[in-house]
């Protein structure tokens, strides 16, 4: 289930990756396991702005953390390659892990939890530089901190303050600055612009695009904001219940989603027209438990098009258009009947 892009070498690739968590602590026997990431294979090309979207709880953050070696991987592997190194991320020794942590960074989903309340903003942003020993003097560190802070639209007078004195969006920009200050090659940006107004959001997205173009930074961009994803991402993967159900060039996918879940998701983008209230598809049917994934196609309990075959046979991963892959038995047949993306108009 991979989507190779010929002109780019692959930066990070996942092979049959699985992550599980226990749900509850029973007195006897083993607890049921949440299959947060359930056998995912995915290739992320170098310098891609790669979108990862999908249902809340479907495993996006866990997948991102697995790439950073911050989730308990129970199966499969993560491979990282750049011009200098190639790592099997699951089996790094201490020195290699240090080096890897410099190349790959995470921008957290919840900035409140990520920022230490006892450090000034300057120290928070400078910490990666100091821990990794990337600068030789305090002046150089300050210089790098001021540069990235200004690019993230932070006020320089603010650097001496503590994080609690900032608004949600300001805190989010602090964590972006901290992740970018050490000039990583690969960034997992988890809902990194969700707390920003659209103007500052546009600024930060333009910054990330510039870093991608100038430094060939690869970005795994986890987001619920589909209009942002349509704008900045060149490729998108859609997750549902621990698995990827569709992946492809973002333009083609927004023009014609091929999986019924993708179509349902796109149709629910809230319209800017107040007279179109409550439109968009709601997913009916039972929300499956993450500990007992439905047999057959994992989406069948909520799929408006499900048939008998979907309840028993797990769909193969198929290419339906150039670079666009989907896990659905009836994709071709359904393409014509599925909803087009919602429209946002001003």
């Amino acid at each position: 289930m991979s989507a190779p892009v010929p002109e780019h070498p692959i930066h990070v690739s996942l092979a049959d990756l699985s992550v599980q968590f226990a749900l509850g602590r029973p007195l006897f026997g083993k607890p049921p396991m949440v299959r947060a990431v359930d056998g995912v294979s995915l290739d992320i090309p170098r310098a891609a702005f790669f979108g990862l979207v999908g249902e809340s709880g479907s495993g996006k953050t866990t997948l991102g953390r697995a790439i950073l070696r911050a989730a308990p991987v129970t199966g499969g592997s993560v491979t990282y390659r750049d011009a200098e190194v190639e790592y099997d991320v699951g089996s790094l020794d201490k020195a290699a892990l240090r080096d890897y942590r410099r190349r790959v960074q995470l921008i957290f989903q919840d900035p409140y939890a990520a920022l230490s309340p006892r450090m000034t903003v300057r120290d928070i942003i400078a910490e990666p530089l100091e821990v990794m020993g990337l600068t030789t003097s305090r002046e150089e560190t300050d210089e790098r901190v001021r540069d990235i802070a200004a690019r993230c639209r932070l006020n320089l007078e603010h650097l001496r303050r503590y994080p609690h004195a900032f608004s949600g969006g300001q805190r989010q920009r602090i964590s972006i600055a901290r992740a970018l200050v050490a000039r990583p090659r690969f960034v997992v940006a988890d809902e990194s612009v969700a707390a920003l107004d659209v103007s500052i959001q546009a600024d930060i997205l333009n910054l990330l695009k510039a870093l991608r173009d100038d430094l060939r930074l690869t970005i795994l961009f986890i987001s619920h904001d589909l209009s942002v994803v349509a704008h900045v991402c060149d490729m998108v993967a859609v997750m549902y219940l621990g698995a990827i159900v569709e992946v492809g060039p973002s333009r083609a996918m927004f023009a014609q989603p091929r999986h019924p879940y993708t179509a349902a998701l796109f149709s629910a983008i809230p319209s800017l027209d107040p007279d179109e209230r409550g439109r968009g598809q709601r997913l009916e049917g039972e929300i499956p438990s993450a500990t007992s994934v439905p047999p057959g196609c994992r989406f069948h309990t909520r799929c408006p098009f499900a048939r008998d075959r979907c309840r028993t046979e797990s769909p193969e991963w198929r290419q339906v258009a150039p670079g666009q892959h989907v896990a659905c038995h009836f994709s071709e047949e359904l393409a014509a009947r599925m909803n087009r993306p919602g429209r946002r108009q001003t």
Partner: protein, 339 residues
């Protein structure tokens, strides 16, 4: 006890100004803000990051920290069953409880901040119900499980015994929504309540909130950066910039015929799904430091229509230019604007 009078605002905020004492001096976070919310009304609050939306919301529940200074003329009045509660004058803890989870409840912007890490989600939901309703512990647990199911959490009877860190970002946010709605508040303060939700679950959660508005006239102060969500939820909208209300009106007026140059800039910055090639266009100029607020109109340093000698000297007041639609801008005032 008298029922709530539907003709009177449930909440009236008048001349609210909030400063913070900091090492670098006094910071003005909210500057002379006034608005009303009627029973059953949804007021959307949008605006720049750092413009004072959360500080305004927390003032309604008196949750701003110790370094907060409310200006003496500030008034927040909550009308509850014939009583008028002067929120900024409340002193005793048990009086404050009325606006903290009783008649008013809040969905916080950062879910991690509002769940204690070492107590299960269920325990926290139950405590809230025991404090503010007459339910027994057993009933409170059953009700909490039901609320978790209504926000789309699968296996709610098992999930309720998990800790916040075991939930995904969006599940935490939904648990907080479930908790805030479980006490059937008269006024819900929702601060960026759906940022961590995918659009299908977001639609389900918005349906649930709309249902409570219709069912018993819950009112909502709905803070969000997502103008699509505003279009779907709000009756009226207020737009904030650097502590002041720049524009207010019905949702159709503000989205279809924005009047203030800041609102126009905001709508222009929206990415459009129809046209992924269009460049993303932020509002130009530097965001002013709250320590160094611009004189006159706070937006004049970034405003394409700023009139030198006027906008940098005098403060424009919020004035109606159409019925129910007001903006604070000299360019809209025929007495000030050049023809």
């Amino acid at each position: 006890m008298a029922a709530n009078d539907p003709a009177l605002p449930l909440l009236s905020v008048r001349n609210l100004s909030v400063d913070f004492r900091t090492d670098e001096g006094r910071i003005t976070a909210v500057d002379d803000v006034s608005f009303d919310i009627m029973p059953g009304e949804v007021l959307g609050l949008v605006g720049e990051s750092g413009s004072g939306k959360s500080v305004t919301a927390k003032a309604l529940m008196r949750l701003n920290p110790g370094n907060t200074i409310y200006a003496p003329e500030s008034r927040i009045v909550l009308r509850d069953e014939g009583r008028e509660i002067d929120v900024l004058a409340l002193r005793r803890a048990r009086d404050l409880m009325v606006v903290r989870g009783g008649r008013v409840s809040m969905i916080f912007q950062e879910p991690m901040a509002s769940f204690a890490p070492a107590i299960t989600i269920g325990r926290q939901m139950e405590e809230q119900l025991l404090l503010h309703t007459g339910l027994t512990r057993r009933q409170a647990r059953a009700h909490s499980i039901d609320m978790l199911a209504r926000v789309g959490i699968s296996d709610p009877a098992k999930r309720i015994d998990q800790y916040a860190f075991e939930f995904s970002g969006g599940m935490r946010q939904r648990a907080m929504i479930a908790m805030a709605l479980s006490t059937r508040p008269r006024l819900l303060i929702a601060d960026e309540p759906t940022t961590a939700l995918d659009v299908t679950i977001q639609a389900q959660v918005l349906d649930l909130m709309r249902g409570l508005v219709a069912e018993y006239g819950m009112a909502i102060l709905f803070i969000t950066h997502d103008l699509g969500v505003i279009a779907q939820m709000a009756d009226r909208v207020a737009v904030m910039y650097l502590g002041r209300i720049a524009e207010a009106g019905s949702v159709r007026q503000v989205i279809r015929t924005p009047a203030h140059p800041y609102t126009i800039g905001l709508l222009n910055a929206l990415p459009k799904v129809d046209d992924p090639d269009a460049a993303l266009t932020p509002i130009p100029g530097d965001i002013p430091s709250p320590l160094d607020r611009p004189s006159g109109c706070v937006f004049h340093t970034r405003c394409p229509q700023a009139m030198p000698g006027l906008c940098d000297r005098r403060v424009p007041l919020l004035a109606e230019h159409a019925a129910g639609h007001a903006a604070a801008c000299f360019a809209l005032d025929p007495a000030e604007a050049p023809a």
